[in-house]
């Protein structure tokens, strides 16, 4: 393991064998976790995040309720074994608080909080494995958990990371790539193309920004297709189990309800 690993080699392949614009393998698991109202486990390659949503429910802290809308409370916890080196982060760690605040501000305009005055929506994020794109995975998992909980949203929120290696833009970065090249995280609402989050902590030349920003927005739409398929499949199974509709394995059933989403 002595030689330096190339981020993008001459053949156009990255360190894990992907192409420049290729996204990592994404899996979505919407099965119930404990007593949460909605939960989702999302993996992007080797990054795995579990999000549980409780609410809308009576607020634990009365002082934080608002008279006309619901309060969104986000708590992030990173498992000590999630990284290569073991690192125990306390709940009050600044990086973690910052991530929680970022997630909260991403979802405040998207969740229809005005429907639930004086209540609270709790979002608990548990990072199980980290290999780059943690914020991206947290946001995608939060969207799915909120959808799973039945909380009304204006649209899905799909996030993806992007980076630029000198002049070549790349999408969905692993930890190795994030440490090497300037990168940003973009979260979009795919129906309208509106962006609810752009965050970058490295230095990127302003000429390169436009291209990667646009690419990341389009990649968000690809992720949206994956998420929609997962939600659809789960809802189909639930509906079949309830006996309210035909079994999802039936071949002649056309469901139009989710077509416009």
């Amino acid at each position: 393991m002595g030689s330096r690993v190339e981020v993008l080699n001459d053949g156009g392949f990255r360190s894990d064998g992907r192409r420049q614009y290729e996204l990592r393998d994404m899996t979505v698991d919407l099965s119930q976790q404990g007593v949460a109202d909605g939960s989702a486990v999302v993996t992007h390659g080797l990054t795995q995040v579990l999000v549980s949503v409780f609410g809308p429910r009576e607020a634990k802290m009365r002082s934080q309720t608002m008279h006309d809308r619901a309060n969104i409370n986000v708590e992030v916890s990173v498992a000590a074994f999630s990284t290569g080196e073991r690192r125990k982060r306390s709940r009050g760690d600044k990086r973690i608080l910052e991530m929680a605040a970022t997630i909260k501000s991403t979802f405040e305009p998207v969740v229809q909080t005005t429907l639930y005055p004086r209540s609270q929506i709790d979002i608990f994020v548990q990072v199980l494995q980290q290999d780059g794109g943690v914020l991206q995975a947290c946001i995608n998992a939060t969207t799915l958990a909120l959808v799973n909980a039945g909380i009304p949203l204006l649209d899905f929120v799909c996030a993806v990371t992007g980076g630029v290696l000198s002049t070549s833009p790349m999408l969905d970065l692993t930890l190795l790539e994030e440490n090497d090249i300037p990168h940003l995280t973009v979260a979009v609402m795919p129906k309208t193309g509106k962006v609810t989050l752009v965050t970058m902590e490295t230095r990127l030349h302003v000429d390169r920004f436009e291209e990667i920003f646009r690419l990341a927005g389009e990649a968000g739409k690809v992720i949206h297709a994956e998420m929609k398929a997962a939600v659809r499949e789960r809802t189909g199974r639930l509906v079949g189990a309830m006996g309210s509709g035909p079994r999802p394995t039936g071949g002649d059933f056309e469901d139009d309800a989710m077509d416009g989403v």
Binding site: Q32, A36, A79, A80, G84, D122, F124
Partner: protein
């Protein structure tokens, strides 16, 4: 641990159910029946050993149940500089996910976490359980094993789950094989071989240049290397010593009346009968059982004779848990070893 609120009527109902003849529980179990336990090892690829254990989780939709994820990670510590202990050490931590306790404030969550951490750490960090292969270079470097557990969901009987998951993660843990490295200055002796480079790999027991004054074989090894980067390593020593825990919940209507212990309480049962005795026992083959730890939790009191009876019956139950867990762990070893061998054969 008031994780669920119960009314007086509910409490009385549960208690009389447990004390009746025959005993009645909400899910129809006998007093000494456990719910289904699911165990999978090797779930965290970045850790040296890991296990995911759940008690009472529905196999189909993965619903309620007590879920614990445990991972053992080895880090090198420099004994010379004061960190770590010569011979290695174990540090346990428990984190309670807020989604497992949705109605506890963060302060109460921290307190609960601390209680669980203390019980686990005091038991596993004891010198009698220290594995023999945690040292690397005597007096210089050693492994510190961090055993981190996360309680993902809680539906009763968390302590049993924590100990079982911790034991499974330690069973699964592999310690990387190391080789000591000694640095030698180039020899200036005339007529010797051509000047050697500044460093050389030497196995600890073989000394290439013996000085006439070298009456003591002092180890000059100052660093170590991994001879095979991809090798997972050898199994952590002490598998027969790691204990299991049984929680004997005490169902009693009053301090004078009959006292009946039962196992594997769900949340409502725990709220109705808060007094419980934790027994941590191990059954090393070829010797008598060892009691590692004992805790009486909750409000209430027990006579010494009752505690004696509980310890005796607790030993029987713990033995069954021990055998069941060992059987499953061996099966997991086989499953993962088998797949690896198949993959190797197919490559």
């Amino acid at each position: 641990m008031a994780s669920v609120s119960t009314s007086k009527a509910e409490i009385s109902y549960i208690q009389s159910g447990l004390l009746s003849n025959p005993p009645l529980r909400a899910d129809g179990r006998a007093l000494h029946d456990f719910r289904t336990i699911n165990l999978e090892t090797g779930v965290v690829p970045l850790a040296n050993g890991s296990a995911h254990l759940s008690i009472g989780q529905n196999a189909h939709h993965g619903g309620n149940g007590t879920e614990v994820l445990s991972a053992a990670k080895l880090e090198v510590e420099n004994v010379e500089q004061g960190e770590g202990i010569d011979g290695g050490r174990i540090i346990c931590t428990v984190t309670c996910s807020p989604s497992a306790y949705p109605h506890l404030s963060s302060q109460a969550l921290e307190d609960l976490q601390y209680d669980m951490t203390t019980i686990l750490h005091e038991t596993f960090a004891h010198m009698s359980l220290l594995p023999k292969n945690l040292g690397i270079l005597p007096g210089k470097k050693s492994w510190t094993l961090y055993l981190d557990s996360v309680v993902l969901t809680d539906s009763g009987n968390t302590y049993d789950a924590l100990f079982m998951a911790a034991r499974a993660a330690l069973w699964d843990c592999k310690v990387p094989r190391t080789r000591s490295v000694e640095y030698k200055a180039p020899t200036a002796a005339p007529g010797s071989k051509a000047a050697e480079s500044g460093q050389m790999d030497v196995d600890l027991d073989v000394s290439v240049q013996k000085s006439g004054f070298d009456t003591m074989a002092i180890s000059h090894a100052v660093d170590f290397e991994l001879p095979d980067y991809w090798d997972e390593g050898e199994v952590l020593d002490g598998r027969e010593r790691w204990p299991v825990c049984v929680t004997l919940n005490v169902a009693a209507q009053s301090t004078k009346g009959p006292v009946v212990p039962y196992l594997d309480a769900i949340l409502q049962e725990e709220a109705a009968t808060p007094l419980r005795l934790l027994l941590v026992l191990s059954f090393p083959p070829g010797s008598s059982p060892n009691l590692h730890s004992m805790r009486l939790l909750g409000p209430g009191e027990l006579d010494l004779s009752q505690i004696r009876d509980f310890v005796t019956s607790g030993e029987k139950y713990a033995q069954k848990v021990w055998e069941g867990l060992n059987g499953k762990l061996k099966e997991e070893d086989l499953r993962r070893g088998q797949k690896a061998r198949d993959r190797f054969a197919r490559r």
